[in-house]
Symmetry: D2
Subunit: 309 residues, 4 copies
């Protein structure tokens, strides 16, 4: 088997960043799964479906907040941007991910990437054709990841840990209920939110999911449309300004690409028309973004000239 | 003289959008200059320095908040991003332009595009080599606009109007002084802030200034470096997330390009590596952005396929 | 039977204020019990246990937020002011009753009279000696009301209405849980909070309860200590600054006495060392205080010279 | 001369509290006047004009925020509570003294005891009959203090120190100007605010000023009306809920009397119908209230049974 220059580049990059030891594992993750902080992997997927990996690219971890992106896409495809926009705005909030950040009087969350907005997103998605809500969300992620090795599965240990620690998210859900942003019992909504976040993925999966978004919503391997082009465009716009929490501005200057991070250590980056990137390493910076993951993304986007400007 | 297809396209676009009557002229502008709400112009400038205009592209109006972009670039070139970053963050605030939005405890403004951040920016710029602060800011704008017709000049009527209505900006300046974000008498800082905002420009000027930013900081006609490449990149990143006030997220989805609007009706848009766009029409939407101007930008970026994604 | 001058004074006062028609019935109350907006009663009880009533003094209505006072007293007697103070502060918040008003970082509610603080108070009270929490709270109110006609009973219709409309209170309870201000499942805490608020009283009951507080915690008729003198002092201090929601300052100037109002239209006022006053009329002003009730209190305190200053 | 039991009581109390060493001198005061932290004095004045002092009762210190009380009384007498209430509310804010605490949209300060409200109060007072504003404020304080030894004088050193450190107060003044709460140039308003705060007093003066308020606005020695009874009642109501900054609730429970503290170490307490108390000691607790002063007030009100309840 031939080793491409890109494979070699990625291997060198992983080697040079692996010694970074800064960051702390998310406490809930630590308790639930005691992750190996040495694990560090990256996968690039082109819009032609070609994958390039290095490091622990087949290591499973919980997708966490990155799931918000796909639930939001599903809600947009179900209801259209106007209906969704009545319940969830698309503006950066300048606040940390778990802030309340609801619009005065209406209770509309600032965007679908903060927890309040993501819980509201789940509330907008309904079961259809005998398929219940969480199955529809899972299936959306499956369709985006198709063509990458392995299967997405919900990690029950992570779910259980999120569920018992989820007081603040339940508070957000009841607050959304009080403003009629959620129109039914909030408890099943929160449960489904925890379930989507507890989905196990690899950087191979994540990178294919990103490539689907880079490819205007069409899975590069299966050719199936996961999201419409309009939905994909809106999803990417929101990731661009709201995907990296209160570090959105710094990320824009540094990286300038739509991205979304998860608290277990995954980051997904989209290079529209070109690539999807998935990267993983558990220790997080103070904004909740993977330290090695962000460094890898910074390196790759600079070296490959991927910044939008 | 031959009319290029692009000229014809712009002329048709101006004609089709001119009937839009929504929006309100900014009250301070109304009192100061009673602008003609029929005036509507656009100019595109390529990174080769070629200009394409239509409508009232030689009509003068005050640059207002668009000046913040150039003062910020000058401060970055003077002090570097680290020193500037200690005083002014680069994060979207989710607040209207005149909100206080200072970081708790430190008083650091959220970004240089809100008024507090723009006033702090002026405070960071010092006179040099016998040239005082406002002259250095004016000269920076001149260098960026060079090669477009006419001269930038400060409009004393606008300055006077801003100055007497500027209570809230003075409050912001004193607040910044109390946090040592501004380290000298705030009054001259506020004065220079009003002066930079009162600079008269045309869409021809604005478009050339945008083209300078699109061209990595180098004026496309004179070939002079106005800003370093690193400064330009940071300026564009901040425009991308913070340039359109609390409509940043919607703008990202719709347009997806670094932009900055001014309350007199100008909008400047940068298509990195390709184009600078300047557009003008006085009536504003509720976010303070020109109604016809935003519509023109939306049309042009769609028709020419300029969206980043 | 002889009519005392005080009886005649109260009868005249009721007659003269009955024509006041301003105010709106609380929507949840309206739906649950369709109260008669003509009902209007007042009772004064001296610290010797003598009662003077006029109007509909035997009309039953839900005690609502006035119950917070007695639950707070019970928590203070159970745990002492230091332990209670760690979980609930005693400072006016300047916010409406249903505001979040939790201390940054610690989540400590500003005071026990806002909903967040009252829910936290219930969470501090535990079952004792085989008597469960809500029975202990009910018994505390019974002991304070003893000697007045009738029995306090929980109104199940009101409880049901509060319970199904209680989204925001559940949100507050989960938020308190996330800050460990509540240390167990919030749902039973919220249920007991709704139960205490759904207790039916008359102004005869309320006035006796107030007289118990006016009498340093000792029921004037039975001579039983309901609260210690130290607890009573703290309860009155908190009522003084926090009892009338965001109208605390106006109430202090106007009335200058510890008071607590409930959303069904009751107001309880304490004249330390002298009197307890209970008044009822359903229509409320914009702060949630009974319009006729507040007018009656204002009249009585002026005419009888009861203002503290 | 006979030593009364009250004199002996006060002397013993001063002796027993003098060893308290907690607290920090206000930094601006420290720089301006290097106060002797051993100085500790108290004066009680009855509504008959009899004074009882102990400790350093003739030591001069700047009145600071206690002046706000008298400026507010003057504004109320000039304009009446309705006009004043349009510009300044009477509600506790739950915020520290230098917080912004302006009502959303209107910019109305929460109460006249926070700096924003006190600056707005000065703005409401105009020169009259050839007497300028600051002279009218000074004269009001003189009239209240008349009959106590010595003369009130503005301390120019303190004024200068406040003036150069007054950035935040200037910011508040410009903010008030922007909301039209202040209707003229804010700079002279802030100057007069600093001047009133820089007035030197002794506890003998302060106690007489308090006794004037305890005596319904009539100076107990001269018999002159300084404030109307209605104004005095409103002033005392506001002191009760807003006089001790964000410790208002604790003060109510502990002391339960209208009071006002100043950052140089003075506290003034009013026992309506009975006494005025002035106390001084420079070191402050974290709320900005004199440590020994508050302890002395707590002791005296308990021992003499002065708590309202």
């Amino acid at each position: 088997m031939m080793i491409s220059p890109l494979h070699r580049y990625l291997a060198d990059m992983i080697d040079s960043l692996r010694p970074m030891t800064a960051g702390t594992v998310n406490p809930v993750t630590e308790t639930a799964t005691q992750p190996d902080i040495q694990k560090f992997g990256i996968t690039l997927t082109t819009v032609n479906g070609q994958q390039y990996s290095s490091g622990d690219a087949d290591h499973k971890f919980a997708i966490q907040s990155i799931a918000k992106v796909f639930a939001y896409g599903l809600a947009l495809d179900d209801l259209g941007p106007t209906q969704v926009g009545k319940k969830i705005d698309v503006e950066p909030s300048g606040d940390p991910f778990n802030e309340i950040s609801l619009q005065r009087n209406t209770g509309r969350p600032a965007n679908p990437m903060i927890n309040a907005g993501a819980i509201a997103t789940v509330g907008l998605i309904k079961g259809r054709g005998g398929v219940d809500r969480i199955s529809r969300i899972s299936r959306t992620m499956d369709l985006a990841a198709d063509g990458s090795p392995g299967q997405l599965e919900i990690n029950r240990t992570v779910f259980h840990a999120e569920n018992i620690a989820g007081h603040r998210n339940r508070a957000l859900a009841w607050l959304l209920r009080s403003f009629e942003i959620i129109d039914s019992d909030p408890e099943p909504v929160v449960q489904d939110y925890f379930l989507e976040c507890s989905t196990d993925v690899t950087t191979e999966n994540l990178s294919m999911m990103a490539a689907t978004l880079a490819n205007k919503g069409i899975n590069p391997v299966t050719g199936r449309e996961v999201f419409t082009e309009e939905t994909t465009r809106q999803v990417l716009g929101v990731m661009m300004t709201c995907g990296m929490y209160d570090a959105a501005g710094n990320w824009m200057i540094d990286i300038g690409l739509p991205a979304k991070s998860g608290v277990d250590g995954g980051i997904m980056v989209v290079v529209p028309g070109q690539l999807g990137i998935g990267v993983y390493s558990a220790p997080l910076d103070q904004h909740g973004n993977s330290v090695r993951g962000a460094a890898a993304i910074r390196r790759v986007t600079r070296d490959l000239g991927l910044h939008y400007a």
